[in-house]
């Protein structure tokens, strides 16, 4: 996927001017948080389960090599194959090779963030294989040739009217005068269009919500059932997953499932949770003949043992973005790569480099809502700060940012001078603005005054008044009046 994080500010501005998008974002930030809260309230043990989910992921990360080996051995024992990929290119090559080996014409796909990360669709298309997204949201954005704007609701930015227009544009085999007013009619049309694709596909490509070391299984969680038709019908099932998706046992997977849907959509459980293990067994009347797992690193081993390791706990539930006031304002596309929202702001610099993505960790008020809802308790604000530190330390010592902070820090450690200089500035600002109570414009503070007035300072600083009995402002006089 093409990265556009460098133009973050412009992306964000465009998103805020897009009224359709703003309507959908308002709906999202109402619905998801409310439903998550209700689900959490129905589960008194929810906080304890979050702790356990965090601990399971930490345990795996601390022993990742051993769990990967155990998992791989089990996949092989169950008749599957594991392909290791250091980067996107290797992962794409593995997938293409498998597809070519069965002379695949079409590949059905169940939503996968890793699929986005390695841009598999473009690659397959260039190699003459048609990838077909089957998650309804992914299908819609594939028709529109857009990237997803949310992890679990990829077409959140698209209105019903736009879906209708896209369906009319693409589904040209259907009567022009058909009625698509009702959302159900759109649903039926998508179901009909995709039915044949499911049945004809040569290869089914899915992601994995988890990989279970105990059994060599991949776990797939959907509400639509598209993942199940994707792996169960074609001759070949390929799983593409990043290596931190491992959990030790079915019991551990179960604990994570208990927090996943509740955090994501506010359901107690998603509709379909499937554990796939190897290919068709002797006597099985259906199922794939081949089972492959492509295990992707793509920069994750670099994060292990680093200050960013905790981000590898992420189970891609979207709670952080569902609750993020910045995401609510700008939507997912503004973040400019695969992962939007707070998790994207930490993950994108980690996987794509901070250089082109420096805006992401800065474009946050560090309000902490994301951390408070993260099912695996990733300290997202702390990690955003860590990126700011890394980025700051990469800037030349004489960059304007460095110099300004150095000057502030210098004077902040000279209290006498600090109070004298600031006292003068404040007295001046106060003199200009006190009467009206506000300043409409301030030198060097256009970022502030372009959107808001600047409340005028009251007069002398507190320290001056308190210690030097200066002229005093109204509050000093007020206080003196109150003293007996």
């Amino acid at each position: 996927m093409e990265q556009t994080t460098e133009t973050f500010t412009a992306n964000a501005r465009r998103a805020m001017a897009n009224e359709t998008l703003q309507v959908e974002l308002a709906r999202l930030s109402q619905g998801f948080p409310q439903r998550r809260q209700q689900a959490a309230d129905r589960m008194p043990e929810f906080e304890a389960l979050r702790d356990q989910a965090r601990d399971i992921k930490n345990h795996v990360l601390a022993n990742l090599d051993l769990y990967l080996e155990a998992y791989e051995a089990k996949v092989i024992a169950m008749g599957g194959q594991v392909h290791w990929a250091r980067n996107a290119e290797e992962a794409r090559a593995h997938i293409l090779k498998i597809c070519k080996s069965v002379d695949a014409k079409t590949v059905t796909k169940s939503k996968s963030m890793i699929g986005e990360e390695i841009a598999i669709n473009d690659y397959l298309e260039k190699n003459g294989i048609a990838p077909i997204e089957t998650d309804l949201g992914e299908y819609i954005i594939q028709l529109r040739n857009e990237p997803p704007s949310h992890i679990i609701a990829p077409a959140i930015h698209v209105s019903k009217a736009q879906v209708e227009a896209d369906f009319r544009r693409v589904h040209t085999d259907l009567p022009i005068d058909r009625n698509l007013d009702d959302p159900t009619s759109l649903l039926q049309e998508a179901r009909g269009q995709l039915r044949d694709k499911f049945l004809q596909a040569d290869v089914g490509l899915t992601g994995a919500n988890m990989l279970v070391a105990e059994t060599g299984s991949n776990v797939l969680v959907t509400n639509e059932g598209n993942a199940d038709l994707t792996y169960a019908l074609p001759r070949v099932h390929i799983v593409i997953a990043s290596l931190e998706k491992i959990v030790p046992t079915l019991e551990d997977a179960t604990t994570i499932l208990r927090v996943l849907a509740r955090s994501a959509t506010g359901q107690d459980m998603s509709v379909y949770t499937s554990f796939c293990t190897g290919p068709k067994r002797p006597g099985d009347p259906d199922g794939p003949e081949q089972y492959h797992v492509v295990l992707l690193d793509n920069g994750r081993t670099e994060l292990l043992g680093s200050e960013f390791e905790e981000v590898l706990r992420c189970i891609r539930c979207s709670a952080c973005m569902n609750h993020c006031p910045v995401y609510k304002a700008i939507g997912g596309h503004a973040y400019g790569w695969v992962y939007p929202g707070p998790i994207g702001a930490v993950l994108t610099p980690a996987l794509m480099g901070i250089d082109g993505a420096a805006d992401l960790p800065h474009a946050s008020t560090l309000c902490g809502k994301c951390e408070s809802v993260c099912p695996v308790r990733i300290p997202l604000p702390k990690l955003l700060r860590s990126w700011r530190t890394r980025h700051f330390e990469m800037q030349p010592a004489r960059s304007p940012g460095h110099l300004a902070l150095a000057a502030w820090a210098w004077i902040a450690r000279k209290p006498a001078l600090y109070h004298k200089v600031n006292g003068l500035i404040i007295a001046m600002l106060g003199a200009f603005g006190r009467k009206k109570g506000r300043l409409k414009w301030l030198p060097l503070a256009a970022g502030w005054t372009s959107k808001r007035d600047f409340p005028a300072p009251m007069g002398d600083t507190f320290i001056q008044q308190y210690h030097h009995g200066a002229r005093g402002d109204a509050s000093g006089q007020w206080l003196r009046r109150q003293q007996p």
Binding site: H362, T365, C367, G401, P457, M458, S475, L479
Partner: protein, 273 residues
């Protein structure tokens, strides 16, 4: 001398049968420069509650702008100065959740485990409290005598709410203000879009967040919006004023002490008779 709050995390209230709690006031740079009234209100609230209040002249800023910009070196330097200035007090009280959180939550993380400053930072962290937490949870004796016939809504600033778990304390204290009715905003816990340098670096995003906040405040119908952090309050007041909305903005300390005949934040000066 009363017992110190002691080791990390233990924040037991202390009884003071005789000695007045020895409190150092860290007034914060914004209050110092922009709205001394909050400083005076804080001093009065602490004194009314029986505290011995000192205001060290050597205080400046807690270092948060540097910290949130990723400048660890300068943050550490400023933190060392704050630690040295305030570590002798029994308590340090801060009329701000974000600066209070900076000291009690983030200072210890600035220093390596083997750095002697780490222990000093932890010791200071343990005895530093945001104003309403100190009044409601530590001193635990209400001396609120203010009268204010008005309706108010409280904006939960992010650091106070999520780092220091400030939620009930200001509301409990405000319930003692005679005549004041508190109306909860549906989005009281949602960020106002201030975020320190965020609001000047990303003014458009900040504006969008701020307008949501203002819509929520207006929806309460309250005459006054109050909160524990001047940064957020200046942000909100500046936008209210720009949009011509008449809702008053005041820091919770001003409300609790009854300092409400002063011009509100961003409001024109009144002519004194």
């Amino acid at each position: 001398m009363a017992e110190h709050p002691g080791s990390a995390g233990s924040r037991t209230p202390v009884n003071h049968p005789s000695a007045a709690p020895d409190v150092g006031l860290f007034v914060t740079c914004l209050v110092d420069l922009m709205r001394p009234a909050i400083g005076f209100a804080t001093v009065k609230l602490l004194q009314d509650a029986g505290c011995q209040v000192s205001v060290p002249a050597a205080q400046t800023c807690c270092g948060q702008p540097a910290y949130n910009s990723g400048d660890r070196k300068n943050t550490r330097a400023i933190a060392q100065q704050v630690i040295a200035t305030f570590e002798a007090f029994e308590y340090v009280v801060v009329p701000s959740g974000s600066c209070g959180g900076m000291i009690s939550h983030h200072y210890p993380s600035l220093f390596a485990a083997d750095d002697p400053w780490k222990q000093r930072a932890e010791a200071l962290a343990d005895k530093t409290f945001e104003l309403t937490v100190f009044l409601a949870d530590i001193i635990k004796s209400s001396h609120i005598k203010a009268v204010y016939k008005s309706t108010a809504t409280y904006h939960d600033s992010c650091s106070g709410l999520r780092e220091l778990e400030i939620k009930d304390q200001p509301r409990d204290l405000m319930s003692a203000v005679v005549g004041l009715e508190v109306i909860e905003g549906e989005q009281a816990e949602v960020c106002c879009g201030f975020g320190g340098l965020f609001c000047v670096k990303y003014p458009d995003i900040s504006e969008s967040m701020l307008d949501q906040k203002i819509a929520d405040i207006v929806a309460t119908g309250a005459q006054l919006v109050t909160g524990g952090d001047l940064g957020c309050l200046m942000n909100i007041a500046g936008r209210l004023s720009r949009r011509g909305v008449a809702t008053e903005v005041r820091h919770v300390a001003e409300v609790l002490v009854g300092m409400t005949d002063l011009p509100a934040i961003g409001a024109p000066e009144q002519v004194e008779n």
